[in-house]
Symmetry: D2
Amino acid sequence: MPTNNKLKIFNDPIYGFITIPNSLIFDIIQHKYFQRLRRISQMGLSYLVYPGAHHTRFHHALGCMHLMQKAVNVLRFKGVTISNDEENGLLLAILLHDIGHGPFSHAMEHSIVNDVSHEEISLRFMEELNVEFNGSLTLAISIFKGEYPRQFMCELISSQLDMDRADYLKRDSFYTGVAEGNINSERLITMLNVVDDQLLVEEKGILSVEKFLIARRFMYWQVYMHKTGVVAEQLLMGVLKRAKELVQQGVKLNCSDALFYFLFSEINGESFTNETLMVFSKLDDYDIVAALKEWKNHNDFVLSSLCQMILDRNLLKVKLKNKAIKASDLKEHSEEIIKKYNISKHEASFFVFHGELTNQAYQNKFQKINILFKSGKIKDIVKASDQLNLKALSKPITKYYMCYPKKKM
Amino acid sequence: MPTNNKLKIFNDPIYGFITIPNSLIFDIIQHKYFQRLRRISQMGLSYLVYPGAHHTRFHHALGCMHLMQKAVNVLRFKGVTISNDEENGLLLAILLHDIGHGPFSHAMEHSIVNDVSHEEISLRFMEELNVEFNGSLTLAISIFKGEYPRQFMCELISSQLDMDRADYLKRDSFYTGVAEGNINSERLITMLNVVDDQLLVEEKGILSVEKFLIARRFMYWQVYMHKTGVVAEQLLMGVLKRAKELVQQGVKLNCSDALFYFLFSEINGESFTNETLMVFSKLDDYDIVAALKEWKNHNDFVLSSLCQMILDRNLLKVKLKNKAIKASDLKEHSEEIIKKYNISKHEASFFVFHGELTNQAYQNKFQKINILFKSGKIKDIVKASDQLNLKALSKPITKYYMCYPKKKM
Amino acid sequence: MPTNNKLKIFNDPIYGFITIPNSLIFDIIQHKYFQRLRRISQMGLSYLVYPGAHHTRFHHALGCMHLMQKAVNVLRFKGVTISNDEENGLLLAILLHDIGHGPFSHAMEHSIVNDVSHEEISLRFMEELNVEFNGSLTLAISIFKGEYPRQFMCELISSQLDMDRADYLKRDSFYTGVAEGNINSERLITMLNVVDDQLLVEEKGILSVEKFLIARRFMYWQVYMHKTGVVAEQLLMGVLKRAKELVQQGVKLNCSDALFYFLFSEINGESFTNETLMVFSKLDDYDIVAALKEWKNHNDFVLSSLCQMILDRNLLKVKLKNKAIKASDLKEHSEEIIKKYNISKHEASFFVFHGELTNQAYQNKFQKINILFKSGKIKDIVKASDQLNLKALSKPITKYYMCYPKKKM
Amino acid sequence: MPTNNKLKIFNDPIYGFITIPNSLIFDIIQHKYFQRLRRISQMGLSYLVYPGAHHTRFHHALGCMHLMQKAVNVLRFKGVTISNDEENGLLLAILLHDIGHGPFSHAMEHSIVNDVSHEEISLRFMEELNVEFNGSLTLAISIFKGEYPRQFMCELISSQLDMDRADYLKRDSFYTGVAEGNINSERLITMLNVVDDQLLVEEKGILSVEKFLIARRFMYWQVYMHKTGVVAEQLLMGVLKRAKELVQQGVKLNCSDALFYFLFSEINGESFTNETLMVFSKLDDYDIVAALKEWKNHNDFVLSSLCQMILDRNLLKVKLKNKAIKASDLKEHSEEIIKKYNISKHEASFFVFHGELTNQAYQNKFQKINILFKSGKIKDIVKASDQLNLKALSKPITKYYMCYPKKKM
């Protein structure tokens, strides 16, 4: 990193260069809480399907900040007043919006802790950093919590057109090589505007918004909900669940202290103390994979089998259906392995199970995407786009999957 | 071009390299009929909107041939038998499918000749070349005409998933810089298969087909039907129409002999003789632009004004509406310029006019895109895709435009 | 183009979007002198070798302006003071630096006029526009002429690291598909700095500068001096030379008035009046190609043959050598066509000729590239780069070519 | 992964799609030895400098195989006979050439084992797999060992123009975002030819070879030898060295069994038994990072400090010089920390040290790159390239670095 009188930059394969605008942001990036994001993969186990998808939360956070810089420039150009403090708040809020992610990002969001979202943990980290940095994150926190009075700023952090999505769709598309998910973030940002403190897209951006929603839907089904990725994630959740069972039965399991903390105690919103936060800050993908490698040789059949499956990418069979799956469809598979491996019904449930996947490309209930017409009128995208039936995209789609072992487990 | 024992290649910014597979195809490319395509721009006057869009029919034709090579490889890999003669026929047919385009491609398709499509003229050229090349294009012609018994081969040349579209969407997106229109041609081709001589897309390609249809629609409205491009095209058609009027009134107009031929005689399907073909083969973008530059100083007010507008990109105002435009909406504009320039009502109609644009992203009536399910079932994409309401894309969309002079014409 | 309160942007396949910063620059771009650049190809006849190379001076000029905006931002970030007027001057100067190019850019620079460089003509146009725009180009002109006291500004317009090269190398590499010529303009610009009003590259940019010089050399030999491109250019110069001979002998030649003006009168620096400038402003690629098409059927054997060769890309044979070519090497070829076509020795010289090509990747004599070390020391790149022997790049390289007809001319 | 009658493909952001040509290769890829490469990063700790550089040996190996497929096609097109068995041998040899890499690739090549190269370990793995796959790797092994009589095949695996370099330069450039290192692998491969069983580049590829050597040199200094990357790597080697010291003194260190095996026993070529290979096959990046995280809290000052530095990217200061560094230059730094932390001179040497970096862009001694001229002559690239002084690239360049703690360690 260059010294103070120099341009501080990161190379980015997507945007070319990412510039660090000031020393506060530089110091935040250098902080160990933020450096930890280098060890949290952005897309969980998706690299088992898309071998290029090893990018991290660290890189994504920098990318979001870069796009936020662009958005601020575009809006100022259009006459929207944004003070330097507000700009800094926006940059910090987006930089830190994901700092609360645990190992493998979403994959384990509900296995490590119970009912504590990564956003809540992000907030905890931000408050902690605010103390350490003498209150310089106060405005950022207000924006992040959605409490800042100028609503469009909160929308730049979290809405259907926030800088988070603008980066991750582009980045995930880039690293997976799934070109169909590529979105033109720059064009979208160029089309942003603000009326009555509300973030809007100008009329000529209608097609781009449609394209963005379609690309998101594409990535959703082709990548994020790819059936092989889904089964890998389920297996990983199975590992954690089984490990907790064993630990709580008093079975000895080797793993890092931080991981053991979360296996041993069921942490939820109330029991998530400052101590918990400190332990959480030590947890990343490496604790999990190291545990998988250790437990692969454990004498618990379920635990060791699950670990081996993930590590050697020798996963369960998975079928995707448009109709709900009945337990009876799986009965045969379940009975087969109970008999074959002499295991209990409960144990079999780690290998034979079903579930559902839901996606709604456009969430029109809570957060609309509003279009600003030249005439000054404002309409929801679903109404503004008269050609493409976007209503279809507002309907949640559900798919159903079932998993069971291959012949040779 | 390297000699015979070498790999003959063209650099292509999109695919890297395009390889010329044999000397017959090489000789066809060297032929003056094909070289003429270097002087026909792919996207007409779109470069007035997208300054990068100067690519030519020549380059597009090579790109199509390149994709056809890929398609043949994929299908053979999947066990579809394609003989070497058939492969050659496919390559020639796609290489020459657009050889009948006149100046500015589609822009003037109906101004130069009456009711003779570029496909018919392509066929005339192919027949001419077939004589010159001793019948080696016979199979290609049969495929091009859709008469070859193995229907999927005809579909590779002309259908909703033909190699023509697979190249032009990608190429036009690339050269305009409109990233949203970029399609993953390679993935689409990888998903092709053949059942009962019918071209199909495998089930796992459903999302890609949807994406392709959406991208096509995007390009349609954002690029091909961009209102500035539309008005430029209308002005160009106005120039030709006015020039014909003047020539037929005996007014002297300087232009190339080839262009004069088509201004002087109204050519239609019946009067399109072999002589016509020879004159047509001499006509390209340069005849038109040279005429615009000459006529810019002609003393006919209408003609000179239209030419100046195009050359200096000082176009008419254009408004796009979702509802039909009434003649009365334009009356005021018309009267204004009649009075201001002391011109007739007919003359004013070159500057004040309205029209409509129609697009149907998916033409389900004549040519379906069929999806092959793992189960062996075959379904139309509209039914196969249950999430996205593709029916909406099958509905033709009409928009209405009106044009009239700026204050300072 | 959007109206005033909107962001005015151009799509660019290379940089994404190019923003027009103010209405003066917008009006200059709209001016017919600047719009004419849409009809001047950037790379002359290179598209006969690289079919994608149809981009224009218009697009290049916009690209340069875009990079200049980046350079201004970087330098200001580093504490270099640049006033708003100076910024505007820089943007206008680079936007207009090539406005004096004639048809086919360099190809015909010395065939249309004698000893009047395109830079001189650019200056004439700028002065003309300065009158029309009430003196708002005065500062730009001063920078363009190299007279502005803050020398680094002149260097941003014209030096070995100017924004012109930074754009054209990248752009030409992009459109030809010759990836080896791609340079990282953004990184280079990020490394710029100013000391004592002198443009410098910071120490950590040494490798990038080397890379830039090597890429330039690569493009030079692989693209700009490609032997097929060279022979095409020579043929085009032959056409003009022959046409002048014929016109001056009183032979009738059809072509545009503007072209005829330059064929009939030998224009040099002194005879280049304001009238000449007005005629020049009407001349572009289309006058030339239209003439080629007309003259292809002229009864002068030399003229018609040369035109046909270019139009049908049926060029002369060309050999490239490292040693000088002796006239005697060509004697046999010359005698053969004199006899075969019954033409004079002078006429044969249009088909059988030789010449030389020279390139010096790094011109250390007049304009150095200086490197600023962290210690504050400044060194010429040749001395700063101790690994790569850049002295070798400072040595002019000469190659020799000879051209003569194929068996079947 | 699709079943047998389908095209098996991997998405790759660089080449689009990578096709798995047959089921033997598919089974090798599925093998746990090969799957382990998913957990070995290609560029070690370079991601601390280039945040995008998280790609793995797994992906690189697939990329190499893809390029080998292209090379085989090009050579066959030019008339070089390559049997199907030989093709398979080439694909397997390149796929497995790096399977012997340990954690963090090169970074720890000499810390885990002593004087056993990754190539030797790759060979051990290949022999092991050959047993398991009933001898189907015999030909591949012969090629890999350089013993196969058709020498050009060995050169495709290991030489200055092998498919390994053709992929890794491109891939590393892509993931770091250092565009200057991008090479046109496809063009280079297109230029390959074979004469007398020797791999050559055709004359027209001279510039591309030069470009390739320059890009390699660029990547070397800008990326592989980036000073921050170098210091991180040295710290990692320090961690292993210190850990071995402690383990051998009987200090308890928690880590995976596999890592402990290599800490406890000094393994060299002779003591590398089959058991060693089995343990080695369990070792990857995750064992190391998990250990760093564990040891960060160890009570050995040296070990814990080193681990913390890497994990929090709070590295030593590093200076790069062109002249050799004298021990005396570091004395002051050394004394300072000895006093400050009350540590021994030996312990201080983990924080204050110097070293050197050497690179030779073109290794002309052992393996030349030969150019095939049209005349049939063959010349070494250094002689064939008369413009660029490639001799300079043949000279090994040495740089010297020194490291010492920041004020606040």
